[in-house]
Amino acid sequence: MQVLTLLVKPSASITFTFNDLEVSAIPGQSVGAALLAAGDRVLRVTRFEKKPRAMFCGIGVCFDCLVVIDGAPNQRACITEVKAKMVVRTQVGGA
């Protein structure tokens, strides 16, 4: 998927990893937004049908964008602020 245009010129940039690949982000962005900007929209695979899921509500209500962050599952990518050196992984299943 194509990389999306950033709307702001960040004064600083940080890096983290998603499934072992390095991704850069603007401080203050959510994990989900930084991944979307880098072209990674699919964040989770569902428990039963193994279907891909992405951010849906975008504000922490729907729990569809769950990812594993630094080993902790069930983190909402849309409202978790990205931090340098975070280790983020696709989550398989829900809670």
């Binding site: 245009t5 702001v8 603007i26 962005q29 849906f56 975008g58 409202i79």
Partner: protein
């Protein structure tokens, strides 16, 4: 537990919560403002620290937000806890107790005066393919722009119903997305009925004109009586196209065409977040848009003395009404703990005017039951638990469920992580329809019970076990 000092606790950092916190503090009260987000402003004034200036043309009302946020943040009597999730709330012996997690640490606070301003989120309806990556809510698409500084995709369809679609479509066009369709499910004629009220709110007409100018500049042509009724995935399972239908006044499909897009932002107004109000057993009522709202008196006080509510949770009405209600709630809460605070006629008049406008708007954008005919047996109803429409119907027709609570237990609809925040509201309608109950005969209790959650936000078992 040692007694807490007399203070006002405000939950929610959006327009209503900020106004309440500031006005309580200005009346002399000590205030604790609890917000779930890392930055104040709520959904309406969501922002990235460095994008304030760059966003000014994307947001009509950012100045008010900036003023309020800095006034609250700099007020010596206001303490702010950001990034705090309240997971339990109870009320006993005249005081409310809130349990919350902030930065991984559990905190418990009690207060005699509590203001709830927990806001709302996009109202959604299910349709075939709405679980495909790329389908999202308009609020979600907007939060990516305002809160994260990114455009959500390249070719975007904006659809659903309600005035919120206009700023979302305009914002997307301004940041470089191609808004290939802007679809309002209702007819423009509905506006005529509320024209007298609209004319009394000239600023709103100016706002609409502002969006229309943007649509002209970017070649966005709004269409009416149309809806996205299905989404289709490519081989990677992501959004490739949507089926757009011309619909009748009851939302039944007349004619369908396919349109290619990588994002579809679809919303049907808003659902108030009444989880906290429900946990506190505040009296609630069903609103004209079949939503649920907290019942309040003329001073925003709920059915429990000392607990006030303001903003979208007392009925969807937009930011201006939220501010008017927040001001009154803040003053009333300060007065409740003994501060000198005066709620004037003007306060009530301003609120009444905004309320009238909100009512007119809601009746202009109804959600008609014909949407249920868009579903197939295979359509996902509960996104969390992957429950299909056929399974929900089976719970009613074969297993005998006649209310949504039983249908939930028998189908697992609404039993996942979001606790029915997304599907609860429309499952009530689907169960009623399957049971042969007409929408107008659905009981208040049935609609209100959807928002009742014993644990307000999912927390880890360890935390529950370690709690008191």
């Amino acid at each position: 537990m040692k007694p807490e000092p007399a203070r006002v606790v405000v939950v929610g950092g959006g327009p209503a919560g900020l106004s309440a916190a500031l006005n309580a503090a200005l009346s002399g009260a000590s205030v604790l403002l609890i917000d779930s987000s890392s930055r104040l402003g709520g959904q309406y004034w969501r922002h990235l620290p460095e994008t304030w200036l760059e966003q000014s043309e994307l947001h009509l009302d950012l100045d008010t937000g900036l003023l309020l946020i800095s006034a609250v943040a700099n007020h010596p009597k206001i303490e702010i806890w950001s990034g705090a999730e309240i997971w339990s709330a109870t009320h006993e012996d005249g005081a409310a107790t809130l349990r919350l997690i902030t930065n991984g640490v559990e905190k418990i606070i009690t207060t005699k005066a509590l203001v709830l301003a927990t806001g709302a989120y996009d109202r959604t309806l299910p349709f075939p393919g709405w679980d495909i990556p790329g389908v999202m809510t308009p609020g979600g698409a907007q939060s990516l722009i305002k809160g994260n500084g990114i455009a959500v995709g390249k070719r975007v369809v904006v659809a659903g119903s309600g005035p919120f679609l206009l700023p979302v479509a305009a914002g997307l066009a301004q940041v470089g997305c191609e808004v290939i369709e802007l679809l309002e499910a209702n007819s423009p004629l509905r506006w005529l009925k509320s024209l007298p009220t609209l004319i009394q709110n000239l600023s709103k007409i100016g706002e609409a004109a502002h969006y229309i100018a943007i649509f002209n500049r970017f070649g966005v042509r709004p269409k009416f009586n149309r809806a996205v009724v299905a989404a289709h995935a490519n081989q990677d399972g992501e959004l490739e196209s949507v089926s757009i239908a011309k619909i009748d006044s009851n939302f039944k499909i007349k004619k369908i065409e396919r349109v290619k897009c990588d994002v579809a932002a679809i919303g049907w107004g808003f659902t108030a977040d009444t989880s906290l109000a429900g946990a506190l057993l505040l009296k609630q009522l069903v609103t004209k848009d079949e939503g649920v709202a907290v019942l309040v008196d003329e001073n925003q006080e709920s059915s429990i003395a000392g607990i006030f509510a303001a903003g979208e949770i007392t009925g969807i009405g937009g930011s201006e009404l939220s501010i008017a209600e927040g001001v009154i709630a803040g003053l009333a809460a300060a007065k409740y703990i003994g501060c000198k605070a005066e709620i004037s006629n003007n306060h009530h008049k301003t609120r009444a005017k905004k309320q009238k406008f909100a009512k007119a708007l809601i009746s202009s954008y109804p959600v008609k039951s014909g949407w249920q005919s868009w579903l197939t047996d295979e359509t996902i109803i509960c996104r969390c638990e992957e429950v299909k429409y056929s399974k929900l119907k089976f719970a009613v027709t074969e297993l005998g469920a006649t209310d949504s609570r039983t249908a939930k237990l028998l189908s697992r609809c609404g039993m996942g992580m979001c606790q029915g925040r997304i599907c609860g509201r429309f499952v009530v309608d689907l169960v009623a329809n399957e049971s042969g109950i007409s929408p107008s005969d659905i009981s208040e209790k049935e609609r209100i019970s959807v928002g009742n959650r014993p644990i307000i936000t999912p927390i880890s078992i360890e935390l529950l076990a370690n709690g008191e």
